[in-house]
Symmetry: C2
Subunit: 318 residues, 2 copies
């Protein structure tokens, strides 16, 4: 009788652990958001560190705010090394989706303290960085191309859409897809670690507004990964609440437009998107607008997406 | 006897007030630092609001960090209006000393939320803003010159060295002086309100290192104002501690070089600089380097300058 009770107690205590193990599969990626907002606050602009789970070899997807975001992550114990080691040793390369200042100011500002690494992007994006930022007018030229003298700390690595590239000094590969962002070509980066993927989209409008096929082509390319449950997360922007007139979208998405895109992806994948991790990025202040975006996304989430709002300095695992 | 005691008590209580009134003359200017550091931390880069005492018509001297600095000032009750009113209504114009990103990123990032105003600077500085930032590659063109379409929110106002210009929508006037900052021409702004002056210097090297006469010419111009006690404060950079080799100064000052410059100013003014307000800007992290700069300045302050270290969001009055 005593032993029987003991066994019950043991199973009872073990139950949460077993349940936990069941619903939480091993994760493949770790993401540390260094900045999450779509503008205005210089201390919190788009930048996301991404590494395979268990590795310290991160890339940084966009680089709007680095220093302040890293400091916050270190204060939160998201990293156990000092801030300068995160910048200098953990970040192995930058992936810039497009050359708007809020997506790369942190990289430029922190370049004097940084170590040698690659800057990856579409050719057009790298060209703007070369001619507008790492010049000798707006900043010293820390790159190995453009205005003389070249300080040669950074190396430009243009990505060709349609082919996969190894990411130097990491265990990851990347494929770039063009996106339509008003007058600019923005970029989606499909990052692979072994047989798992994360898809990061820079600023983008919807095909219907941008008169483009870019989103459709992207969804067609990743649909097989969704079907095979290999796509662990999609990081995608929603900048404005519904009601923002098309002519004032400036190449951005609303909750309604995001859900349209997700329906298109579901159709192409031929499976339910229930519990698909969707990290919603680039929400634009003011605060009441951000609240509205979250309410509208929740209300329209018919397919049961797992909507995630990243927080500066707090790790996400997928 | 009772009345006598009462009178003594009254005088005793009044004493600090009288003393205070005696040592603290009426002030002419209010400065609200929005960002004070010389790099790396995106949340705290060079930007200083300046207005005549009692006026809400400010200018912003450099604009590295706006949003985060204004939020901090509002949280500190340095302003009694909301943050968006400070940006939109209090700041009447930007004065950009040179086009390095850490001196104007905040202006670019906040431009979508801003109101119509002037951007003042030397012609060469405005040219870089026009061709590198407010283009349609790195940002929308919010100005009234450069790449089409021009959104016409900002108007470029080139300043001609040697002549005084009225500052629109304020009670102040300004005169610009060229400074040598490595490969760039930086700027000092001499701001006047009635018969009182504040001198703000953007990044600058010393004449002896830069092989220039710019500092000498500036000191010669302001020496009469120092002599007449009309120059209420000098805001000047010290980026590196002593010991930074000349070839690694990149157009910046050390404590030793600053004190050399102050000696030159004293000589030209022909008076003691005791208690002259010198606001030390642009200290470059890391923290231990900033500590060293402060120690070295204190140790070498033979002439008794009133050295002031501005703090983000905390008002200074002169």
């Amino acid at each position: 009788m005593y032993n029987h009770h003991k066994l019950s107690l043991f199973i009872f205590l073990l139950l949460p652990v077993l349940t936990f193990a069941q619903v939480k599969p091993a994760t493949s990626f770790r993401i540390v958001p260094l900045g999450v907002l779509g503008g205005a606050d210089e201390s919190n602009l788009s930048a996301y560190m991404l590494a395979p789970q268990g590795s310290d070899n991160y890339i940084c997807l966009d680089a709007g705010t680095l220093h302040y975001g890293i400091a916050k992550a270190v204060a939160n114990k998201t990293f156990s090394v000092p801030a300068d080691a995160v910048l200098r040793k953990y970040i192995k390369g930058y992936f810039i989706s497009h050359a708007h200042l809020d997506h790369l100011a942190g990289m430029v500002i922190n370049s004097p303290d940084d170590t040698s690494k690659n800057i990856y992007g579409l050719k057009s994006t790298l060209e703007t960085i070369k001619t507008h930022y790492f010049t000798w007018e707006s900043w010293a030229n820390f790159a190995d191309d453009g205005g003389a003298p070249q300080l040669k700390k950074y190396h430009y690595k243009p990505l060709e859409p349609g082919s996969e590239t190894d990411i130097d000094n990491t265990e990851m590969q990347v494929q770039a897809f063009p996106l339509s962002h008003s007058n600019l070509t923005s970029t989606a980066f499909l990052v692979r670690s072994k047989d798992n993927y994360v898809l990061y989209l820079g600023d983008t409008g919807a095909d219907e507004v941008e008169k483009s096929q870019n989103m459709h082509n992207l969804w067609a390319a990743v649909a097989p990964l969704v079907k095979a449950k290999k796509l662990k997360a999609i990081m995608i922007e929603v900048s404005f609440p519904n009601g923002q007139p098309d002519k004032s979208l400036f190449g951005h998405l609303t909750p309604r437009l995001l859900m349209n895109e997700m329906r298109e992806l579901g159709k192409l994948a031929g499976v339910s998107l229930q519990r698909l991790n969707v990290v919603v990025t680039h929400l634009k202040p003011p605060y009441n607008s951000i609240i509205k975006i979250k309410q509208q996304l929740k209300a329209s989430n018919k397919s049961g997406l797992n909507l995630i709002y990243p927080q500066q300095g707090k790790a996400l695992e997928f």
